[in-house]
Amino acid sequence: MKAINRRQAFALGGGFVMLTLMPMAADAEVTNDAAKWIEKFTSGKQPAKGKISLDLPEIAENGNTVPLSINIESPMTADSYVKEVIILADGNPNAGVATLSFTPLSGKAEASIRIRLATTQNVVAIAKMSDGSLFTEQKTVKVTIGGCGG
């Protein structure tokens, strides 16, 4: 599904592709390794929905800097806190975006970063709690670099 979108994107605007971060036109075989990241992070366990609020713009005019905020519901005490969160972009050449490590000293499981998105795609977050439970959330972001639709 996504591969088609990407190809369509290139068909539509070869020019703007040069501006993006992706050399995908040249080596379209490069498959995104999102599944591998997820497998490694979750060790095969199925994450549950919920607890995470992922804040991203619905439409990003510039894929070079897309603001991302994440907030995970957790008391953040020594007994129960969010340990680690991975953020993945399933349409980027490399799926990995960032791995956040929290501690009870963080006070809140909340962070903001700015990320790059090569094309319209899903951004996925998976959180690992101190008790080993996993939660996930995802958002689709439309990327329109240089004003031509993606």
Binding site: L21, M22, A98, S106
Partner: protein
């Protein structure tokens, strides 16, 4: 080397308060996926790790991938139980580490 990192946090906080910390460091964050005019790939050069400690204890850390924007901005929180010093560090692909320190006092 890069400019001094910019860090924003309150000068003092009440005991148990959760404060917000904003950091920004100047860096190109070359993704390793762009090509130069000759068609050669520009080698990857990014900051791959950020860490924040308070009085020697880890508060927050972040492993960064090429999908992080140039001049990485990182915002997070910290719970203040005592006065002390925050230590920040950004680790570059080439091994350089940019460090910074900020002090915080307890509200009387």
């Amino acid at each position: 080397m890069a400019d001094k990192p910019r860090i924003k946090l309150p000068k003092e906080a009440a005991k148990g308060e959760v404060i917000q910390i904003k950091t920004l460091v100047s860096h190109v964050m070359e993704s390793g996926q762009r090509k130069d005019a000759q068609g050669k790939t520009i080698p990857r050069k990014i900051i791959n790790k950020f860490a924040c400690e308070f009085n020697g204890k880890p508060v927050f850390a972040c492993a960064l991938e090429p999908a992080i924007s140039a001049n990485p901005y990182i915002q997070f929180d910290a719970k203040i139980d005592e006065a002390g010093t925050f230590k920040f560090s950004w680790t570059d692909d080439d091994g350089t580490v940019i460090t910074a320190e900020e002090k915080i006092a307890l509200k009387a």
